[in-house]
């Protein structure tokens, strides 16, 4: 799973969101590190909808423009949970190594 797809799914976990809502939520979730461009977002959304991980939720009109909301599906939630577990395991493995690390001069294992 790519990082943009991961964040888009994560942004939809608590509530359906429209396009800009996803962009803003992803920026918030990533601490401002991931600034989704519109072309990237809709490439990811198109793929996630095709895979059944995301589905259209409803449409609303806001200031004369259509807002289409998307929601995460059960399959999308499962995929996100599996990916989060994988990343957490990777992070824990690396963190464990770092905790046990002692510089060679400090008498620990290098």
């Amino acid at each position: 799973m790519t990082e943009p797809a991961f964040f888009v799914l994560a942004a939809l976990v608590d509530a359906p969101r429209h396009g800009y809502g996803v962009v803003a939520e992803v920026a918030d979730l990533s601490g401002g590190r991931v600034a989704l461009k519109v072309g990237t977002l809709y490439g990811v959304l198109d793929r996630l909808v095709a895979e059944g991980a995301v589905a259209p939720d409803r449409e609303e009109t806001h200031q004369g423009r259509l807002r289409r909301y998307y929601r995460i599906t059960d399959a999308g939630r499962d995929a996100l949970a599996a990916e989060a577990a994988r990343q957490a395991a990777n992070a824990e493995a690396a963190a464990g190594r770092l905790r046990r690390y002692r510089p060679a001069g400090a008498g620990g294992a290098a």
Binding site: G19, K37, G39, T40, G43, D46, L66
Partner: protein
């Protein structure tokens, strides 16, 4: 409609029609909302501007992935993506084979007991020849999935050829300008085709391509040695062994193998498209270089022989390609609707390339 919206919608025309029908209004709404949110105090100023470079790049990248598809893309896009990736791979393969063979010849000429033949000339020319070896790491990087490294190294390998063409154009007062200019465009084709190796592109099966490179390194000297035995001497040999001649020979052979494979190997749809694209480009290379050869090269006896040989090369290539294109009418060629896997949707390299 504000100028900003108009400009953004113009950029969205890069996207395939069916994709645009599904997503355009949504994309425009999201883009405008993001643009206004970024400048909460200056809505009017925002509306007079245009989309930023990063937004345009994201649309262009999306268009590329959709049109030259990878995994999960519509069947037609998958087919074209697979074909364009083959164009890039064949171009890098050809650069690798000629680079290795040329460097081998240069080293042999430079280290041998006899002085280097005149065609190898100075140390600079030998170094120049060795620079073509850069195609080898570019090709290897592409086979091993390092597409950025491949593109960078291939661009570096292309630069000496570009500089050489510029120097030749400046030094010859316009002679050979047509073939030199076209030659640069022809060599740039595989570089441009590297764009199809985007993040969604499937991995390349590297083993058949490695065998093809090894076979090419053995076959190229054999072919040139054989070409030198053809009756006609200086009237014929340059046309058989120049860059256009080598491409014509390789692609004609590949098209014949594709025809004989009856829908398998080089006869599969992405291979047919790749060979057609390369073949048309190579036909242009032969035509332009033949025209310049006839105009500017020293006259030979008999005078009609170079034109005859060049036209025969063109005729053979065009006939083989036309026959190959004629086989592209079967049911297996018709792209299935939606996101179906097609015959193209197999790892590149599942057929041994023969060029």
């Amino acid at each position: 409609m504000s100028p900003l919206e108009r400009r953004y919608r113009r950029a969205l025309r890069l996207l395939p029609d069916d994709y645009r029908r599904r997503w355009e209004e949504d994309m425009v709404a999201t883009f405008l909302e993001a643009a206004y949110a970024a400048h909460p105090d200056g809505r009017d100023g925002v509306e007079l501007g245009g989309p930023g470079r990063a937004e345009l790049a994201s649309v262009a990248g999306l268009a590329l992935r959709l049109r030259l598809g990878g995994d999960g893309a519509p069947a037609r896009a998958v087919l074209w993506g697979a074909a364009v990736r083959r164009v890039a791979l064949v171009g890098l393969l050809a650069g690798t084979v000629t680079g290795v063979v040329g460097a081998g010849a240069a080293v042999w000429a430079g280290l041998g007991p006899a002085p280097p033949p005149a065609e190898f000339g100075s140390t600079w020319q030998i170094l120049w020849r060795l620079s073509a070896l850069l195609w080898l790491p570019a090709f290897a990087a592409l086979l091993t999935g390092h597409r950025r490294a491949a593109a960078g190294t291939a661009a570096a390998a292309f630069l000496p050829a570009l500089a050489g063409a510029a120097a030749a154009l400046a030094g010859t007062g316009g002679a050979f300008a047509l073939s030199t200019g076209y030659g640069v465009l022809f060599d740039a084709l595989p570089l441009a085709a590297l764009a199809a190796f985007h993040a969604d592109a499937p991995a390349v099966r590297h083993r058949p391509w490695m065998w093809a490179a090894a076979g090419g390194v053995l076959a190229l000297p054999a072919y040139t040695a054989l070409a030198r035995t053809v009756p006609g001497g200086d009237a014929v040999v340059p046309l058989l062994t120049d860059w256009a001649g080598l491409w014509c020979a390789g692609l004609t052979a590949a098209a014949v193998v594709g025809l004989a494979s009856r829908g398998r190997g080089l006869g599969r749809p992405p291979w047919r498209r790749a060979l057609l694209v390369l073949g048309l480009a190579a036909a242009g290379l032969r035509l332009t270089s033949l025209a310049d050869h006839l105009r500017f090269s020293a006259p030979v006896v008999p005078a009609h022989l170079p034109a005859l040989v060049g036209l025969l090369q063109l005729g053979a290539l065009v006939a083989a390609l036309a026959a190959l294109a004629g086989t592209a009418r079967g049911p297996r060629d018709r792209p299935a609707g939606g996101r179906a896997a097609s015959a193209a949707h197999q790892p590149i390299g599942s057929a041994s390339p023969s060029v």
